[in-house]
């Protein structure tokens, strides 16, 4: 899968033939792609290789450059520097209508003056395909999204979810090498969104087309993608599969952005796997970032990795134990969420599956514990920046939907 990318020195000259033999149809390669708007850099020297038939998500908060990246792939924007190859072909300067790439737009962008069938047929008509063939292919495409009976309606007569399916059928009718999806599920309600996530994933594996999916919703990215590129300020922070991103974040930003984290500050001891905090020593099996002995650091642990108990657990079996006072319990359906006050100004969030959760009351003295495999240490400075950034993102409404999806 992850073949090594030949590091080509980037210059303005076309790299049409370079790597054309190794890049099969559907492979997308970006090399040091930069896009500036005035003085702002929207995309900052991104390099990325998407394999043929892969489902890749670009995940990040608004303004991170994910949509700009997608628009450069579609051909609506031209990069200021770097090269883009689709199916081994250099596409710099190639207009959108000459690229073997199709897009599902955020607001679907269905043509209001055409029927559903005519919308879906649009791509074929541009190719001057015969009417009988158009009829067959449109029927097939509508059948694929289970919308055949809506063929004669107008887009305005359809619900959001139905319009979404039509947009998908329309974009896939020309069988593009790559399908670009720009937050296509953003306008749907939660239940429909989850249904569509499943359908999209099934469709993608059936068609074997490369999907590049832009979203700010981590739940969406985690549930569908083969790999996820976490973006921030025009750069890729981490490119990995969902498990790696969730369990071994490359840095504190990724750790804080995907899912929820408890951050605890302290100082690295002689052993970089041990951190001294006001709550005692914390241990981690894996350590990321440049951690120097004696430097300030942050430990990140996920709420679902934390166990809460009324009795002190044996420290032999659990390397990380922190005592505290239970200040809140909330019901999240399948899980119970505990908020524990530790020290004077710190709280720790823990989530336990309901059958296994202990019966505790607010005000009880409790012990929080977690394994050393579920902790990541990061340099303190990095973690502080990440927390500040995440707090800022939490203000914008787009990010609040993420907060909801965390609780599911």
């Amino acid at each position: 899968m992850s073949a090594t990318i030949p590091v080509v020195p980037v210059s303005g000259e076309p790299t049409r033939n370079k790597g054309a033999q190794t890049e099969e149809t559907g492979t997308v390669v970006l090399e040091s792609v930069t896009k500036r708007y005035g003085t702002a850099t929207a995309v900052d020297s991104i390099s990325l290789r998407v394999e043929a038939g892969e489902f890749l998500s670009l995940l990040g908060p608004s303004g991170c450059g994910k949509t700009t990246t997608l628009r450069m792939l579609a051909g609506f924007e031209q990069p200021d520097a770097g090269s883009i190859r689709i199916s081994g072909q250099n596409v710099i300067g190639v207009p959108p209508h000459r690229r073997n790439v199709n897009t599902v737009f955020q607001a679907y962008a269905l043509f209001p003056h055409m029927s559903i069938a005519e919308n879906v047929a649009y791509g074929l008509r541009q190719k001057r395909v015969g009417k009988q063939e158009i009829r067959e292919k449109v029927t097939e495409a509508l059948d694929m999204v289970q919308m055949v009976s809506f063929a004669d309606r107008r887009p305005t007569q359809l619900s959001g979810g139905q319009q979404q399916r039509i947009a998908l059928a329309r974009a896939l009718i020309n069988r593009p090498a790559v399908l670009l999806l720009d937050e296509p599920l953003g306008a749907l309600d939660r239940q429909l969104r989850e249904e569509m996530q499943l359908e999209l994933k099934l469709l993608q594996s059936r068609l074997g087309i490369t999907f590049i999916f832009v979203t700010h919703d981590q739940g969406e990215a985690l549930s569908m993608s083969d790999r996820i590129a976490i973006m921030r300020d025009g750069r890729i922070e981490q490119l990995a599969n969902a498990d790696t991103i969730y369990d071994s974040p490359a840095n504190a930003y990724v750790a804080g952005f995907v899912g929820q984290q408890n951050f605890l500050s302290g100082r690295i001891g002689v052993d970089p796997h041990v951190m001294d905090t006001e709550f005692g020593q914390l241990r981690a099996t894996t350590v990321t970032g440049e951690l120097i002995v004696g430097s300030d650091a942050q430990a990140a642990v996920r709420p679902e990795a934390v166990t809460v108990s009324a009795e002190e657990p044996a420290s032999v079996t659990t390397p990380n134990v922190v005592p505290g006072e239970l200040i809140g319990v909330s019901h999240l359906g399948e899980t119970l969420q505990f908020l524990v006050q530790i020290g004077h100004e710190h709280t720790l969030l823990a989530r336990l599956p309901r059958p296994a959760a202990p019966r505790l009351a607010v005000g009880d003295r409790v012990w929080c514990s977690w394994s050393d495999e579920s902790v990541n240490f990061f340099p303190a400075k990095q973690a502080a920046a990440a927390k500040a950034k995440i707090a800022k993102d939490a203000v914008d409404p787009a990010a609040s939907t993420r907060a909801i999806s965390i609780k599911e």
Binding site: A74, G75, F76, P95, P96, H97, V101, N102, T103, F105, Q106, A107, A109, L110, F111, P112, H113, M114, S115, A117, E118, A121, Y122, G123, R125, Q126, K127, K131, I134, R135, V138, T139, L142, V148, S149, A151, D152, R170, A171, N174
Partner: protein, 322 residues
Amino acid sequence: MTTQLEAIGAAALQSEPPSAASAPGRDWKRLPRAILAFPAWAWLIAFFLAPVGMVIWFSFGYKPGMFGTHANDVLSLDRYAEALSPTFFATFQNTLWVGVTGTLIILAISVPFAYWLALKAPMRHRGILLAMVMIPFWTNFLIRTIGWQIILAPEGFFSQVLQTLGITDGPLEIMFTRTAVLIGVVYNYLPLMVLPLFVAFDRVTLSLREASKDLGAGRWSTFLHITLPLAKPGLIVGVLLVYIPLMGDYITATVLGGAKGNMAGQMVANQFQTAQNWALGSAMAVVLILTILGTAALAGLIAWLGTWPMRARRRLVLGVEK
């Protein structure tokens, strides 16, 4: 509009429990909502339908002697025969020529300009550019038209420029001709076409045009299949807004047309004001109204038939039994 009304409705529902509606002293709320349209239809009846009805009525009458303006004791179609007699008919022909040519010229200028203004011009310049279209429009119609007299005069500015450049030898002789009227109306009515077209193009969202290009359509194809059909309402409004007043215009024709560039509006005004023949004037007015309605309907039919092949090619019916 709808959303505003809905919002008001929703707010009303929330602020009052259902029982409050049946409370005494709330009966005024039961007035039909059509009351909102009262000022509009009262105005329309008093100042449009009634006068037009009177004009139609007068057109069947005659002018009784020197000092009467109209009489309706004997009804006939004689005034129509008179209105369509060769002298007056030539004026109708002239009016139609100026109206159709003028509208087509305005259309040819406005479509590319409004397209560029709405979709291609830099956002920060858009306000200034729109203002440049609008500001001349705020000046008095008569003054603007008289301004053209100065420009188009044989010894005027335009004539001198043409002579200096060697394009014409001798002074320009277009003042008091049909050409002068045409120049005048194109200038006067241009903003009425540019504005609705600008709004129409502006409403064709970027993502629709991008979707078209994404699906393989080039610039021309996108313009023809997406942008233009979606701007159609603006196009129709613009054409009607220009063509109807242009056909009835009499200031431009009076100021720039003289005897050779006479138009129907001027002719009707003459019958009412100078000749004091209201019956003939009314018949002419009715002929003018019918000409406008007839040609507008014809233009609509031609446009519909002209775009029929495109729609037929696009039309797709799936023969699916489900």
